[in-house]
């Protein structure tokens, strides 16, 4: 493969696409598939064929378009019409009115049933208008199973640029200029991580893409892997070049079969075209990617446990230092980057670090993908510039709280994060402000809760998750989470005394300070943040045996007495 051939492929696809009057993208993300989008896709293809309009409308599968609950989603280009809940019965109408003619079918428009259907152009809908898609820019507008599609929108040209005109130091300084920080949750500067690995002399190095997304309700990485797998491969290859690694791995959980399948297809396609393998773009750089499937343990998202799992060992974490940059996979220098981080790499290379750093806020540059869930009108996958306020995300993009209910809290960072109450809705969402509020950015789970949520119950839910997912290696996490869960259960059941709350308040910082890995260190966060903002709810459960939100069922019995 050389640049002429790459451009040739891109040109061919573009030429072919331009022959069609219209293009229809049918979402084939896991969400839309489960609501029947594959049937819609087939019906659409069949209808076009049977009516003899195969040359007029190009029907293509695409990745996640965002508002998964409204699926199956269908997008019509060039008008940018977004139709929701499209079942095979709707296909004929769409063909007649929106493909052969230019009519808008208002009853199918996105969010029409919510009385918000007035946007015939999807981009005008506040749901999309306020978003800024970089990571997800190709999701929903290319066929994730076609490398040619990816190449046609400039795919692998960043890799070409890197291999032919940049030194590894250049790459790292470009990444540094972008200011990008790790999207897996902790927000460590990506360039710094790469530099550490780059600076460690070793003939063997590894770069790992962490796709072990495990927060309840989070599906950012899954959607990227399903919707734009080549973007991640390209990011891995650039990372490999920057650090001197010849081998990359995608570590992905077994619960993501579609992501695994699409990524596997993508690897095969890239190898076939010589974009992975020996002497890529006729340079000295050789790079390969393989998939390692995890068995679905939350702790394997922790980098040392992840590497143990790749090595075929029990997936338990090890103390750091030594950090993976020094001694990682099989004892070799290793960089572990999140899916979303790697998906940002190609655009940074193509458009420049300066361009990226101008997006978002000063210390948190770029965009962040969130899985918006809970009691909010528009649930789904969104991508916003860092620094947008929580209020804009929930009320403008998310469309507010359904049923006229009152907003209570937003939970970010899943079981490692915390709850943000109403008085902080105008805080810009970036790494540092969220940490300041006692939560974390996390990998992008964003759960909205209204007044009917009990915050003690929420804390108990996440504590149960951590207790179940603790690997059991170190005692503070193994036993501490169990005790904290038991105390929270007693509070929820109205059997706790104030002394239990005191013990809980002693345990939480202890588990945070003494646990071996991030799972235990962050496990008390949901508890600590609800204690901080909703202390009176705890007191009501204990002293009045009353759940203010009406969620917890109080039982009476002999519990703890003093």
């Amino acid at each position: 493969m050389n640049i002429t051939e790459l451009n040739q492929i891109a040109e061919t696809v573009r030429q072919k696409k331009s022959e069609f009057k219209k293009c229809v993208y049918v979402c084939t993300g896991a969400g839309c598939i489960s609501s029947g989008s594959l049937e819609t896709l087939d019906a659409m293809k069949k209808a076009v064929k049977e009516s003899g309009h195969e040359k007029d409308a190009d029907i293509r599968p695409a990745g996640c378009m965002g508002p998964c609950v409204q699926g199956p989603l269908v997008k019509i280009i060039p008008e940018d019409k977004m139709y929701q809940k499209v079942v095979p019965e709707n296909v004929k109408t769409i063909l007649d009115k929106s493909l052969l003619a230019d009519e808008v079918i208002s009853s199918l428009l996105l969010f029409s049933e919510k009385g918000e259907g007035g946007f015939s152009k999807a981009a005008d809908n506040p749901y999309y208008r306020k978003q800024n898609k970089i990571v997800l820019e190709n999701c929903g507008s290319i066929n994730p199973e076609s490398i040619e599609d990816y190449i046609s929108i400039g795919g692998y040209s960043a890799l070409y640029k890197v291999l032919t005109s940049m030194s590894s130091e250049d790459v790292i300084s470009e990444i540094k200029e972008s200011g990008i920080r790790g999207r897996g949750g902790a927000g460590y500067p990506t360039a710094m991580k790469w530099k550490f690995v780059h600076d460690h002399a070793s003939a063997e190095k590894y770069v790992i893409c962490n796709g072990d997304e495990g927060d309840p309700g989070a599906f950012m990485d899954r959607s990227v892997l399903e919707g734009d797998p080549h973007r991640v491969i390209e990011g891995l290859a650039i990372a490999g070049y920057a650090m001197g690694a010849k081998q990359g791995y995608l570590y992905v959980r077994a619960e993501y079969p579609l992501a695994i399948k699409r990524f596997d297809t993508a690897i095969k396609q890239a190898r076939k075209l010589g974009l992975l393998g020996e002497k890529i773009f006729e340079t000295d750089f050789s790079f390969n990617v393989d998939i390692r499937v995890g068995a679905g343990a939350f702790v394997c998202g922790e980098e040392t446990a992840l590497m143990a799992s790749i090595e075929g060992k029990r997936g338990v974490p090890s103390p750091r230092p030594p950090y993976p940059a020094e001694s990682g996979l099989w004892g070799k220098p290793t960089a572990i980057n999140n899916v979303e981080t790697l998906a940002n790499i190609a655009p940074i290379i193509q458009r420049g670090g300066k361009w990226f750093s101008a997006i978002g806020s000063r210390k948190s540059t770029g965009t962040k993908v969130f899985a918006l869930t809970g009691t909010v009108n528009h649930t789904g996958l969104i991508e916003v510039p860092m620094g947008m306020t929580m209020r804009e995300i929930i009320f403008d993009i998310g469309g507010g709280i359904p049923g006229g209910k009152k907003f209570k809290a937003a939970q970010t960072g899943g079981p490692s994060g915390g709850c943000i109450p109403e008085q902080y809705l105008d805080t810009p969402v970036d790494y540092d402000s969220l940490t300041g509020l006692g939560s974390i950015m996390g990998s992008g789970g964003l759960i909205v809760m209204d007044e009917t949520s009990c915050m003690v119950d929420v804390a108990r839910f996440f504590m149960e998750f951590c207790m179940d997912e603790s690997c059991g290696k170190c005692v503070p996490c193994r036993v501490g989470t169990k005790h904290m869960y038991d105390f929270l259960t007693r509070i929820c059941e109205g059997e706790a005394a104030m002394s239990d709350l005191e013990q809980l308040k002693q345990l939480a910082p202890f588990v945070r300070d003494t646990s071996l890995c991030g799972l235990g260190v962050t496990a008390p966060n949901p508890l600590l943040s609800t204690l901080r903002y909703f202390h009176d709810e705890y007191i009501a459960h204990i002293t009045q045996k009353r759940c203010p939100a009406g969620v917890c069922k109080m039982t009476s019995g002999v519990g703890h007495v003093h």
């Binding site: 338990v316 090890s318 230092p321 059991g472 170190c474 005790h483 345990l507 003494t514 071996l516």
Partner: protein
């Protein structure tokens, strides 16, 4: 590299070499550090969290057994916070399974008991969990009592790294983790166990014990494994 540098432990300046762990340096300097999962001769896992120390410049508490020293590092091993945390850690160990000292073979020869005494643990503030745990008496010579297991994995490591049998491993997650032999078969049915007894010797509590041991009269010698490893290393 033979360069030596100095570090400060509890205000005392001591000499240390590269790649030495904080624990090694403390031992040489005569600073006592509480350990439980640590055993000289097998790999260090940093799991029991009793050897955590404070290092100036980092907010994280670091396990002395797995952290290597850096030049001019300032280490604190006995702050009020560390003392309080060690006590809590020990209490968690006691609250986890069913430790009934009065009926335990290791009573008065138990490392957990000794450490608790040393740390001034006179009662367990956290409610006992009282899990249903079992004993495995299927081995002809030894007993495994999961009621007393603290999951330090010394048995797992010594069996794998010193004996080379890898009979023991860990199964399950969180507080439901437990030690298993082979593929969770009764110990007596294990096809890998050589009955060497090293696991019994290194077990710091009364979880593993020879069947002929009498109540309160069990004496273990974990140092025999340390010596064995040392002798193997220096055999020429």
């Amino acid at each position: 590299m033979s360069t030596k540098y100095s570090v400060t432990i509890d205000g005392k300046t001591v000499e240390a070499g590269p790649k030495q762990t904080i624990l090694d340096v403390c031992k040489t300097a005569g600073v006592d550090i509480m350990t439980l999962c640590y055993l000289e001769g097998v790999s260090n896992v940093g799991a029991c969290r009793l050897c955590l120390v404070e290092v100036e410049g980092t907010q994280k508490l670091l396990p002395a057994c797995t952290t290597t020293v850096a030049p001019n590092q300032k280490i604190q091993t006995n702050t009020d916070k560390l003392k309080q945390y060690r006590k809590m850690t020990l209490e968690l160990f006691f609250s986890e399974r069913n430790h009934i000292c009065s009926v335990c073979v290791a009573n008065n020869n138990c490392q957990l008991q000794n450490l608790a005494r040393e740390a001034g643990v006179d009662h367990i503030r956290f409610p006992y969990i009282f899990p249903e745990a079992h004993t495995d008496a299927s081995h002809k010579e030894f007993m495994m009592d999961h009621n007393r297991c603290i999951l330090c994995t010394r048995c797992v490591r010594v069996c794998d790294e010193v004996e080379g049998a890898h009979t023991w491993d860990v199964m399950g997650r969180g507080y439901q983790s437990r030690i298993i032999s082979d593929f969770d078969q009764p110990w007596g049915d294990s096809s890998t166990c050589t009955s060497c007894g090293k696991c019994v010797e290194v077990c710091p509590v009364g979880a593993l014990w020879p069947k002929d041991a009498m109540l309160g009269h069990l004496k273990k010698s974990p140092e025999m494994v340390t010596e064995l490893v040392h002798k193997r290393k220096h055999r020429s």
